[in-house]
Subunit: 192 residues, 2 copies
DNA sequence: GACTGGACCAAATTCGTATTTTGGTCGGAC
DNA sequence: GTCCGACCAAAATACGAATTTGGTCCAGTC
């Protein structure tokens, strides 16, 4: 337990250094030596804890996804109705994605780190699915959502998650204005 | 009138050659010489009709957008209710975008032709806005759409168009399965 | 065992330079 | 009006040499 916690602390220190240098130079341009230097460690130490550069990238991104998910969950827990919860979840998720990603230029890095980005997006989808499905179940049990049956919860979850993913990818390429996101959330919630 | 029609015919012949070679080699790799050869003309002839390579690209893309819009409009006209019209419009639009874009690798070409792609997307948005707004107005007048007021038609149009744009961009990057598109359309229509 | 410097290496990248290609212009022919 | 072909500067490509990078591994220290 003690050695595991020390292990985690070492990894965390490295990942903190990662975030700093990746924001400065981008994912591709940053070398393992850069990261080691920033973390005040030797390059061998990085390889002691992480298999390769991609694994460093991915570990950092997963931490960020988990952080955003936790934050959105907290905010959701503060709302009364399932509808409010869904709106809060989506809204906070976007706010945090936008903030977290602001210093990066993902579009530019897409070419060289596609596999990692795909895996991170998959984890992001998984988090969103868990949360959205749970909210939809709550709404269904309470009779808040009239349009969906119990059998449709999974399908509806998939649709909402796909829209979130879609809009998230667009943050990397295109500039979606915040007001539009609000409108889309309202539309998903209320329909026509 | 006769010289205009002849002009259009010449342009159309060039654009047809364009489509062929662009699909074969991609937008960037295709040279003006390639296009001229395929069209059975001299390079100067291209410059007689088009200002530069980007204008050729854009002319072709605009024709395709117009074609898709016309097709979606036809299909829409066959439906009775505004809701059905909206569903048909979005569905056909996606089907045709997917077909038209299948031979191209837009993600790869994004870097060198960003400005053109942005202008084409703007035209695509404009077409969608026109059509969606008109459908929403119809639905409002008929009392089909309960959730939106007259003042909200423009806002709701913007939201729907943004989702269409978002999902369209994702066709270039990510693979959205067809069933998901259906789910999303249903959700936009029915809400939760 | 945890940590790490440093030697090492193949692959990847960078760099400078020469060469070729390309987008675009324009004169002139039909 | 239509369009070929000569021409040109800029852009792109090719190529070889040099450098850097991700990753491996050994041995040493605490």
């Amino acid at each position: 337990m003690s050695s595991l916690s020390k292990d985690d602390r070492a990894r965390a220190g490295i990942l903190q250094a990662d975030d700093s240098v990746f924001q400065r130079w981008g994912l591709t341009k940053t070398t393992m030596e850069d990261i080691a230097r920033e973390a005040g460690k030797g390059k061998s130490t990085l390889y002691y804890y992480f298999k390769n550069k991609d694994e460093v990238l991915e570990a950092l991104a997963h931490i960020q996804v988990a952080r955003i998910a936790a934050l959105a969950r907290e905010e959701t827990a503060r709302k009364e109705t399932a509808r409010e919860q869904l709106i809060a979840y989506v809204y906070i998720t976007f706010r945090e994605i936008r903030r977290t990603m602001a210093p990066y230029d993902i579009e530019r890095e897409m070419g060289s780190h596609r596999a990692v980005i795909d895996r991170v997006l998959a984890k992001f989808d998984a988090e969103n699915e868990k949360a959205v499905e749970s909210i939809l179940r709550l709404g269904f049990q309470r009779g808040e959502f009239k349009s969906i049956g119990l059998r449709d919860i999974k399908a509806t979850t998939r649709a909402i998650v796909a829209v979130i993913r879609s809009l998230t990818l667009n943050l990397f390429i295109d500039n979606q204005d915040k007001q539009l996101i609000d409108l889309i959330i309202a539309l998903l919630s209320e329909g026509l």
